[in-house]
């Protein structure tokens, strides 16, 4: 029942993780694409449609953001806070995907408006299952906020 091809923005600085998540997404057989940026500032630029992400045909606005916390330049929590302050992004489903289990990080993420908080497993099988479930849940089953008329 996919309404659309999933467009996921993955904010992740670890190239290995990007590769593994891309692979897990591919192996899960979900339709759509994962776009990735490797730091907080790039994530903000992407979401605002600034250069080098101004071309929305090549860099479409995502309907799900997978956000790491530990990021260069601007942390995932800062990015989240910025997003929730933007009228056009304040309801964009955002799932934290991080290696931190720190209670403070978890609470802060939820306080700032994260929709979910996931910890990256080491096992690829587990990762694949996780990515599969996330894309299925958020893309196929979850009712996202209606598109805003600009």
């Amino acid at each position: 029942m996919p309404r659309d091809n999933a467009v996921i923005l993955l904010v992740e600085d670890d190239a290995n993780d990007v590769l593994l998540i891309q692979r897990a997404f591919a192996k899960s057989g979900a339709a759509g694409a994962i776009h990735s940026v490797s730091d907080g500032d790039a994530a903000v630029a992407y979401l605002q449609g600034e250069a080098p992400y101004a071309d929305r045909t090549r860099h479409p606005l995502p309907n799900l953001v997978l956000l790491d916390i530990k990021l260069p330049r601007r942390s995932g929590l800062d990015v989240l806070q910025w997003m929730r302050a933007q009228v056009s992004l304040q309801r964009l489903p955002t799932v934290m995907l991080t290696s931190s289990r720190d209670g403070g990080d978890v609470n802060r993420a939820y306080d700032l408006g994260a929709n979910s908080y996931l910890v990256k497993p080491v096992s690829f099988d587990a990762l694949q299952e996780l990515i599969h479930l996330v894309s299925r849940y958020w893309n196929d089953w979850n009712e996202g906020p209606p598109a805003r008329v600009v």
Binding site: D14, D17, S99, S100, R101, D102, K120, V122, S123, F124
Partner: protein
């Protein structure tokens, strides 16, 4: 408040006045004794002096009286009717003599008998009615003495019944030769006026006695009285003896010249010493007043002395108990106590400042240590998470190699890729366990009532997979009591213990796991028993250490941290953990927790 000083008999406030009072009392007593002695001596001296004076005066009076008496009897003996009668005692002369000798009314009371006796002691004539008062022996002696001396003689005191008499005799001479003796017996009487005069002379408490020098009767000039119990004739100074009726007396005796009489004046010693006694009484009152004043004064001054000392003592005791906030105030004193209080307050201030400085430093160090510890924990925690990223890469890409490029690898290559994947996963489990242990170790648990049955049920759910895989039999005592602990942590403890109980059973044996509890004094001990391989005695403590394993991973999987978590969790809950085991037959792990007192409250 001052009374609290008296609570302890050892307090200086009590002992000091007592000691000072005792010393002063001793001094006063010694002084009083000395003064009383001298006062007594003076009183006695004065008494003896007066005694001598009185005695001498009385002797003088009696002497004058005797001279007078002799003069009287001589004039009678020399009178014409007497001489004429003696020369020729005819009837006419006898009548004349009798008439002349008849006492006139003014002396009738004093004159008992007048008689003229011959030199041979025969009665020539007797005039008067007191014939019975005359003593023949005395008469004879008087006649003899008069004849022998050719002069007047006074006789001894003579007592008949209550009447006291004496005789005065004079020679009746005819041509210078003694022909007869005139004897006049006189009754000793004294009028009340005379006695009063005498008393005035000798004073109260004094006793005048008149007696014969050669022993015999004594009189107090009114009647016969008992003589002194000692011989007084030879005594010249004061003599002392006891009288039955008046007690101890001091007396002085004097011979009355021209008579065989002795005058004796007795003073009651008590009377003599009355001034000294009065003085002693007054001294006693003065001493008592002095003592009261002194004790009060000493007590008051020791109070003013003791109050600051007691305050200091209390302050020092407070300091000894670790309270440094009490300043000692003894007012504006410049003496040793004032200086002591100032020094003490200064010392306490120093101690308090040092203490506060020390506490401040300890608090600072503690805070620093806590910060460092938190930093270290955060560092270790984030490091552990960061370590997982490369593991993920190792595992993920080795798996990708196996899945996507399997055809390009020979069996050995594939095996190696599998080993890389497994190694990464093992390390990941270790890191997760370590994080788990670290979380248990650094979290402060809020202990509360725990339903042990519920905790075991929850734990069983966690290890459901392991139980099912081994087809294990789990028996749980349905009546597990309530305990005090941390529910989630206890669930993990039971999960680890039950997981181990299932795991360490030989593959060919069906695991039998039993959970039961018994109660000790105020504690609950829960046993998790298995029929597994058991643990050798020397390893029964070691297994609770971090990453301690007794078997290879191939034999029994695991990281070796489960029991370390159990022990740390029990420590955090104020409980204990232990094991009893028989190699080959099974192990019995136990945990012990404080019991919930109210049943069913858990």
């Amino acid at each position: 408040m001052p009374l609290r000083f008296l609570r302890s008999a050892k307090s200086l406030a009590v002992t000091l006045p007592l000691k000072i009072g005792g010393l002063v009392l001793l001094g006063v007593l010694i002084g009083a004794f000395v003064i009383y002695g001298s006062v007594r001596d003076a009183a006695m001296r004065q008494s003896v002096q007066r005694l001598g004076d009185v005695t001498n005066e009385l002797r003088g009076m009696l002497d004058a009286n005797g001279v007078q008496n002799r003069k009287i009897v001589r004039s009678v003996a020399d009178s014409a009717p007497v001489v004429a009668f003696v020369r020729a005692p005819d009837a006419a002369r006898r009548d004349a003599v009798a008439k002349a000798l008849a006492p006139t009314p003014d002396v009738a009371a004093a004159i008992a008998l007048r008689e003229i006796r011959s030199a041979a002691d025969s009665v020539l004539i007797q005039v008067g009615n007191g014939r019975q008062s005359a003593d023949p022996a005395i008469d004879a002696a008087l006649v003899h003495d008069v004849v022998a001396n050719n002069g007047e003689v006074i006789g001894p005191i003579h007592v008949i019944g209550d009447s006291v008499f004496y005789a005065a005799a004079a020679p009746v001479r005819v041509h210078g030769k003694v022909h007869a003796v005139y004897i006049e017996w006189r009754r000793i009487t004294s009028t009340p006026e005379a006695r009063q005069q005498l008393n005035a002379l000798i004073g109260n408490g004094a006793n005048l006695l008149l007696g014969s020098t050669q022993g015999g009767a004594w009189t107090d000039l009114e009647r016969a009285v008992a003589g002194p119990p000692v011989a007084v004739d030879t005594a010249t100074g004061p003599i002392r003896y006891d009288r039955r009726e008046t007690g101890s007396v001091v007396a002085m005796a004097r011979h009355v010249p021209g008579t065989p009489w002795t005058v004796l004046v007795e003073f009651s010693r008590a009377e003599s010493l009355a001034p000294a006694t009065r003085f002693l009484g007054r001294l006693g009152i003065i001493t008592a007043i002095l003592l009261v004043v002194l004790l009060t004064g000493t007590w008051m001054s020791s109070r003013t002395l003791m109050r600051p000392l007691a305050d200091l003592t209390h302050a020092a005791e407070a300091v000894a108990h670790g309270q440094f906030d009490g300043a000692v105030s003894v007012g504006d004193r410049q003496d040793e106590i004032g200086r002591l209080a100032v020094a003490f307050t200064t010392m306490v201030t120093h101690v308090r400042e040092s203490q506060e400085e020390l506490e401040r430093r300890v608090a600072e160090r503690t805070r620093e240590l806590k910060e460092r510890n938190e930093e270290l924990e955060a560092f270790g925690y984030s490091l552990a998470h960061d370590l997982r990223a490369p593991l993920r890469a190792m595992q993920g890409f080795s798996q990708a190699l196996l899945e996507d490029h399997s055809s390009q690898l020979d069996p050995t290559g594939r095996h190696y890729a599998e080993l890389v994947s497994e190694g990464a996963q093992t390390m990941d489990r270790m890191i997760l366990d370590l994080l788990n242990y670290s979380r248990v170790a650094r979290t402060d648990l809020d202990n509360g009532p725990v339903d042990l049955g519920q905790a075991v049920t929850d734990a069983t759910r966690q290890v459901k997979g392991d139980l099912a895989a081994r087809r294990a039999h789990l028996t749980v005592d349905p009546m597990l009591p309530g305990a005090v602990g941390h529910p989630a942590t206890l669930v993990q403890v039971f999960a680890n213990l039950i997981g181990n109980a299932v795991k360490f059973v030989p593959a060919d044996r069906i695991p039998e796991v039993r959970v039961r509890a018994n109660r000790h004094n105020g504690t609950v001990r829960v046993w998790v028993e298995d029929n597994g391989i058991g643990i050798e005695p020397q390893f029964q403590q070691k297994i609770f250490g971090v990453f301690e394993r007794l078997h290879g991973v191939d034999e029994y999987a695991g990281t070796g941290i489960g029991l370390a978590i159990v022990r740390k969790a029990m420590e955090k809950m104020g409980g204990t953990v232990g094991v009893e085991s028989t190699v080959g037959a099974g192990s019995r792990f136990w945990i012990e927790l404080p019991r919930m007192e109210a049943p069913g409250a858990a």
